[in-house]
Structures are given as C-alpha cells and as structure tokens.
C-alpha cells in the first residue's frame, strides 16, 4: 500500500470551515439566540458610544463657548493672576491670529475671538454687583459664543456700538436694569488705577448657568481699550474648532508657529482640557462610568457565548471523538470550535455594528430629545446641557467595538475549544445502551 500524500493545510482549513459552518446551522435556534445577544450588544455599544460622544461633544461645545474656546492663547500668568498686566500685546495677538489663518489649519477653525477678560464691578442706581467684563469684537464673538443666540430682550452688540453693554438676565434683575438703562462698570486699568465707564444696556441674555447670567457683561473691545488704556491688547485669543478632535493638531500648530514667544515665556497655548479641568474631569468620570457599564454588559454577553459554545461542545462529545478517530488532530478539532465561536461573534458583531450605525444615523439629524427626562435647563460643571443629544459618529469607535467583540468571541471560545481538543477519544466513543 502506498503512503497517501501529506495533508495539505488549505484543504484542512476548508474542511474545518465547512464543518464549523454546518454545525452552526445545525443548531439554528441556539445559534440565532446567541447571535441575537451579540447583535443587540454590538448595536447597543455603537449607539451608546455615539450618544456618549455626542453628549460629551455637546458639553465641550457649550463649555468652551462660554469660556475660552477649544484652544486658547494667553499670557502664561493670566490664568492664575487674572490681572490686566498679564495680557497679550497687540503684536502677540496679531501673531496668533495670523497663525490661525494659515491655510493648513484654517479649515479646522470655526471662530477666533480675541477678548479682554477682566474682573470688575457693575453698578446702577439699585446697587453694585461683581462682574466678569468681557470686551469683544462683536462680529467675531457672535461666531464664537452662543450668548448672541440667547437674547431675551434687546439685541447683541454690533460693530458700530459705542458704550454698549450686553448683560445676563441675573445681573439685569439684581441691578434693576432694562434695555437703555445706564450701567457703570469699574475695574483696574493698565496703570493700576480704578477706572469707571458708563454704558447703556442694549441687550439681555439668558444662558442658564447662574454664574454666567449673574456676572457676565459683554462690551465692545474698542471701548475697553480706551477705558482701561489697553488699546488693542487682549487677555486671550480663543479658538472654536470643528470638533474637539482638532484640538491636538491646532495646539501643535500654534506651539510651533508661536515657538519664539512661548520660549520667552510670553505666550502659552492651552487646549480646553487644560483650560477647563473641571469639565475634562466630568467627562472622564462619565466615560469611566460608561466603560464600566459596557464592560459588565459584555462580560454577561461573553458568558452567554461561553455557555452556548460549551453546550454545543458537550452535546457533540462523541462527534469530536469520531473526528479524531478519523484522523483529525486535537488542534484541528479545537480549531472547529474556535472557528464556530469566531464566526458567530464576527457575523453577529458585524450585524450589530451595522444596526448601531443605522440607529446612530437615524438620530444624526434631529438628535435624541431627552428633555422629558432631564428638563430644559440642566447645567453641569458650569455648562448648559442641551437636552437634545445629537449622536457623534467616530470611525475609531467602530474599530474599537469590532475588536472588542471579536476578542470576546475568541476568549469565550478558547475554553470550549480546549475541551474539544483534549477529549478522551476512547471515552467519547463508548456506546451507551
């Protein structure tokens, strides 16, 4: 008798695949049930990530627009001192603005607003209140901030405005101010002297964050320059970007372009995480909570797969014995089980991810209205939370979810595969009467 040819690997791979596929279809109900769990898990994960990312992006957008932007260029000491003397000169401001207008970075930039932010006192005949005075270019600030969309009375500042003030509803209430009312603001000027400026209220806004509504006063930058002697100097150049993912490249670009004043200690570039550590921490905590829930969810799913694949292995004890008696190696026998588990998770993962993407796409336009649950005026960490969450699609999330699902499929199939590989053939073949 002549020896048969050596066993070709590709043939065995095909045989293993065929057996695995047919075994999956043999237990159609069990396969469908396990797949349904995986599909649901995958869809839920994709949609939850999109909702989580969307709401975080919403928090970030809301937070950075009422503060210093996705990226801010400042004098290094200003964030601590909050003093006018720690400001950017008009030359440094111009340099930053030119850097942001460069063609390789400009497409990422939505708005740039150079502002002078100072602490002072706002007073009227009814009394005086501490105020955060923000001197702005009205046109640039209207693109940067959302306050111009939150007008409840009057209007936002306009380029020709002189001695105009746009104030929060809380401040208007406590100082009994209306449109056209006179308001005096006082602050330390560049000579460290207390200087006062008379203004007229042109508009009142309601932001929803009490701290903003009770203290913020927008005035034209030109008025502040004359009042405080700061001319065209500013305390920060704030930048709003297409999304928070652009913070890295824009920050690096600015750090490269402004390398000289940065080295001299005159300028500092900060991303929103550094500028708003409370918001960054809130998002990190929320993310951690989400990952924890997803982790537990997928642990449960993993046990479901282990159970399904293991039950299938135990029911086919004799069959694995036959396969090995016919010449399949223990490794090849285990490979059948592994392929079954991986195929099941890969296919159901694909369907689940697709369903999750469809659900995400469905809510991309109008978002998911959560106002019935959280109300209309929810604030968190100094940020107004929009109750309508628009999911955010990120390709990296698909890669993460697919990797996660396949990894779970592989891990959950390893034990059943080992059981199949390590079978005692003689024991498995025993005839049970």
């Amino acid at each position: 008798m002549t020896a048969p040819p050596a066993r070709p690997r590709s043939l065995h791979t095909r045989t293993i695949l065929v057996l695995a596929m047919r075994n999956l279809s043999r237990q159609a109900r069990r396969t469908m049930l396990t797949a349904a769990v995986m599909v649901l898990g995958g869809a839920l994960l994709i949609f939850s990530f999109a909702i989580g990312d969307g709401s975080h992006e919403n928090w970030i957008d809301s937070g950075i627009r009422t503060s210093s932007g996705h990226v801010t260029v400042e004098q290094p000491q200003f964030r601590v001192s909050r003093k006018l003397e720690d400001r950017l000169t008009s030359a440094q401001r111009g340099e930053a603005e030119r850097a942001l207008a460069m063609p390789d970075i400009a497409p990422l930039v939505v708005a740039v607003s150079s502002r002078l932010r100072i602490g002072g006192l706002a007073s009227s005949a009814a009394g005086a209140r501490p105020a955060q005075i923000l001197a702005v270019d009205p046109v640039a600030e209207a693109r940067f901030s959302t306050l111009d969309d939150q007008v409840v009375e009057g209007r936002y500042l306009e380029p020709d405005d002189r001695l105009a003030a746009f104030i929060g509803v809380g401040l208007a209430s406590s100082l009994e101010l209306r449109i056209g009312s006179r308001l005096v603001v006082q602050a330390q000027d560049t000579e460290n002297e207390i200087a006062a400026q008379l203004l007229r209220v042109v508009g009142i806004f309601r932001n929803g964050v009490p701290e903003v509504d009770q203290t913020v006063v927008h005035i034209p930058l030109q008025v502040a320059g004359e009042w405080l002697g700061s001319d065209e100097d500013v305390t920060n150049v704030g930048v709003v970007l297409q999304g928070s993912e652009a913070v890295g490249p824009v920050t690096r670009h600015l750090e490269t372009t402004l390398a000289e004043p940065i080295t001299r200690g005159e300028v500092r570039v900060m991303g929103w995480r550094e500028a708003n550590p409370a918001l960054a921490a809130a998002i990190a905590i929320d993310d951690f909570g989400n990952y924890l829930v997803f982790g537990i969810l997928f642990l449960i799913i993993a046990f479901g797969i282990v159970n399904a694949v293991l039950m299938s292995v135990l029911h086919r004890h004799r069959e694995f014995g036959v396969l090995q008696a016919l010449g399949l190696t223990p490794g090849q026998t285990g490979a059948i089980v592994l392929v079954e588990g991986l195929t099941l998770t890969a296919v159901s993962g694909f369907v689940g991810v697709s369903l999750g993407l469809v659900a995400t796409w469905y809510f991309l336009g109008d978002g998911l209205d959560m106002s019935a649950l959280v109300g209309e005026d929810m604030t968190f960490s100094g940020v107004v939370i929009d109750p309508v969450i628009v999911p955010l699609f990120r390709a990296v999330r698909i890669a993460q979810v697919v990797t996660f699902i396949v990894a779970i499929g592989a891990v959950a199939s390893i034990y059943p595969a080992l059981r199949a590989a390590r079978i005692d053939i003689a024991e498995a073949m025993k005839f049970e009467r």
Binding site: T15, L19, R22, G327, F431
Partner: protein
C-alpha cells in the same frame, strides 16, 4: 521485510489498566497477538472481556499501560497525538456500533471524509465512494444526511468510510449490534466481499454469533486475556 510481509497488527505484552475511583480495573492483560494482512478476524467474548479496549489500543485511541503495539509496522504505543492522528488517517479505518456518522455531512461527504483529510483529489474520492456505494447497495443515497438513513444504511456508509481510504486495517466494534438479522447479514456480506476482493484486513470486536461464524480467525477473550485463538480453513 517487505511491506506485504509486515503484519497489519502486532501486540506484545499489552496491558490496559483503568483507575475507577479507588478500584483498579485490568481491562486488557498481557495480550500478545499478531494479525496478518488480509485477515478477517473476530475478537469475541462476553461484555467486559476487554475486546473493545484491545481494539482501541490497536487503533491508537487509548495508550497501553504497559506493552507495545504496532500497526502496519509502526509502533503506536510511543506516538505523539499528532503522529497517532496521522496513523489513524492513513492506516486505520473505524466502524462503530453506533455508526457515528457526522450528522452535518451527507452520506457521500461522510464516506469521503478521511480521503478529504488525506488530500485526495475530489474526482478520485468520488470515484472510490461511488464504486463502494454501488457494491454496498447505497447508490442513489449519496446526498442524504445520516438522519434520513436507516440504521443498516448508516452502517454501510460507515463501512464505505472505513475502507474507501484504503487503510491497512479496519477495526469494527460491534458493527452489527444495532442491526436486524437481514441488515446484519447484508453488512457482513459486504465486508466479506471487500475483504476477499480488495484484501482489506478486518478485525471485529463482537459477541454476535453471525460475525463469529463468518470470521476466518476467532480470538476468544475472557477477563482481559486471550482465552483461545482459532484459525479456520
């Protein structure tokens, strides 16, 4: 020694001892036997006499506790799992009492399976199986899955699967135990014909008088030992 002179099976002082809880069970005790190529041998004996265990030892399905086993000149007792799988694939065909066809494959695919693993071309596999199906009265049932075949038909597919890859040896464990008389006789006719025409070596473990009656050599086992070894004309 030429290949044709090498016995299909040789065992030398083989023991198989199982540990069942605290008790030691000597299933096979000091068995030395040689089975030449082309034999039609029955290992007979009552339940528990060790015939299935001896069959498993010969087929490399379980390792001996002591002693040595050769199949087609290759020593089985010292082989790795990988080498044993290769030996079973190339040299041994199995027929089981419970048929043990793979339920997800058709009759044709079941019969082809060992040859598929051997890497034989599809055409060659199909030719061999179709010829054997014709011999065994299975022609026309190639595409049926085991669940759609009678016990006798399933066992005939198992016989075809065991012999189609042209092994040196076919080990059949109680192949007729689940069959009625007519099916048993038909199956034995098929195996005797394959033995006679193709020179396939058959070793049966059985307590079926019909099988023992057909065997040209009858090895009687009692309590794990060979009690008698009778060759008939």
């Amino acid at each position: 020694m030429t290949e044709s002179n090498i016995p299909a099976v040789r065992t030398e002082g083989v023991w198989k001892i199982f540990q069942q809880e605290a008790e030691e069970v000597q299933a096979v005790r000091d068995v030395s036997v040689t089975i030449e190529r082309g034999e039609f041998t029955a290992l007979a004996g009552p339940s528990g006499s060790g015939k299935t265990t001896l069959l498993n030892l010969i087929g490399g399905l379980t390792p001996p506790t002591r002693g040595r086993v050769w199949v087609a000149g290759q020593e089985v007792s010292e082989m790795s799992n990988q080498a044993l799988a290769q030996l079973r694939l190339e040299q041994v065909g199995f027929i089981f009492q419970a048929y043990n066809l793979l339920p997800v494959l058709t009759a044709m695919e079941n019969a082809e399976f060992p040859m598929l693993l051997q890497g034989l071309a599809a055409e060659e596999r199909a030719t061999r199986v179709r010829e054997l199906f014709a011999r065994t009265g299975m022609a026309g049932l190639e595409d049926r899955r085991p669940g759609k075949l009678s016990g006798g038909q399933q066992q005939r597919v198992a016989v075809v699967r065991a012999v189609a890859s042209r092994p040196a040896l076919v080990l059949a464990d109680e192949p007729t135990a689940n069959l009625d008389s007519a099916s048993s006789e038909a199956l034995l006719d098929v195996m005797a014909e394959l033995n006679r025409d193709l020179g396939v070596t058959f070793v049966f473990a059985t307590h079926d008088a019909r099988v023992m009656g057909r065997a040209r050599r009858l090895v009687q086992m009692v309590d794990g030992r060979i009690d008698s070894d009778e060759t008939r004309a």
